[in-house]
Symmetry: C2
Amino acid sequence: MAIELKVIKIGGNVIDNPAMLDSFLKDFASLEGPKILVHGGGKKATELSHKMGFTPQMVDGRRITTDQDIEMVTMVYAGLINKSIVAKLQNLNTNAIGLSGADGNAILASRRPVKTIDYGWVGDIEKVNATFIKAQIENGLCPVLCAITHDNAGHLLNTNADTIASEVAVAMSDLYDVSLIYCFEKPGVLTEVEDDNSLIRNLNEEFYAELKSKSAIHSGMIPKLDNCYNALKKNVRKVIIGSPDVLKKDYNTFTTLSL
Amino acid sequence: MAIELKVIKIGGNVIDNPAMLDSFLKDFASLEGPKILVHGGGKKATELSHKMGFTPQMVDGRRITTDQDIEMVTMVYAGLINKSIVAKLQNLNTNAIGLSGADGNAILASRRPVKTIDYGWVGDIEKVNATFIKAQIENGLCPVLCAITHDNAGHLLNTNADTIASEVAVAMSDLYDVSLIYCFEKPGVLTEVEDDNSLIRNLNEEFYAELKSKSAIHSGMIPKLDNCYNALKKNVRKVIIGSPDVLKKDYNTFTTLSL
């Protein structure tokens, strides 16, 4: 039987809240066994862009990544956030190693082709280097991945952190029994976005399709859930969406996805 | 006989000049055998600080690293510069991995005690984790180290890149035959700072002491040279200071240091 590996993704709202982040990192550090952390960006990159005198352009909630933006997100995601998390994990006796997709050629991507919109330096994942990541884990390290990839032509690319978590989980499934856990500011998938009591504890694909057809799923959740089902179809053993308290095994704080 | 390992440091002036950096990286990528790159910061952190509305305070050419400054240098050194170099090296078929001292607990430091001046988040190196760095090299990776360390109490620290190069070279000398090469904007140690023809090809410690006593060494070179002799005394096999062209084996572009 393969060894269990946890791939845990934290979103921007967790990162933007120092108390929530510290509490999450404590729980993360105390998890037994091999684990990978994937983190998003939070508001810092946008805030700093404003301070520097430019305003990131968003289309459908996605950043148009200009030359200025890729510098900014590289600084904030791969620099400030990634290294701050790694330093905190070291203090919690977790031997973390912060990685962008360029490091060790961990995640190769290609710049998104222009159809109607040119997203700029945005990368779609081509290949996750599972061998490299496994070697780090076998050296006793805990990879901490930020949402920056590369194209192997010398360019850094901005890639959605949810997609990174999903694709990393899929690639590692050839080598481990992988659980993929998305932590964000809600206790899971809700039928009423403002009502935590509307938590769906189990969401299979059929039920998901039904809810989607009734517009009962918040639109912001759809790409995340699509990433979840993609992972389940490609041999990720278990996929969960919940609040950071899911790591405390609080059963009111997550949704379990199934096919 | 131990395997040879090259530890090469590039300074800010190389980083600030894109053509010089690209040319250096090509030469670096073509070097055979295990190698480590250590890079400084350049002017970008100071430029960005000004854009963000604060002015870094310098005392004797050293940055007083406030809370704002440590965020800025983490973004620029560990984020932008480090990952840009790693992406370029990947494109040059060098499997680089960018590291701060927090990653894999590579470089443990302690915040500099306050005597007359509080340097803020500045770290003095306590221990280089040679075992970790060796494991990366043995996995076929080329470590690219930035000038950020950590204190294992959750804080990142700003550490002089010349000192990092020297201490990494010393620590790796237990495991490899180490050559330490400092690349900067001059062709080596000069007796006349503006005259490249005043290059000293060989500088032993006695000659260095003599030149220092006559004030014939530019003050900015003294900490760098002290790092060199420190390395030689602690079993680093060879120490060189020169322009990036030293990697092309241009014999007019470097000074060899000896005890």
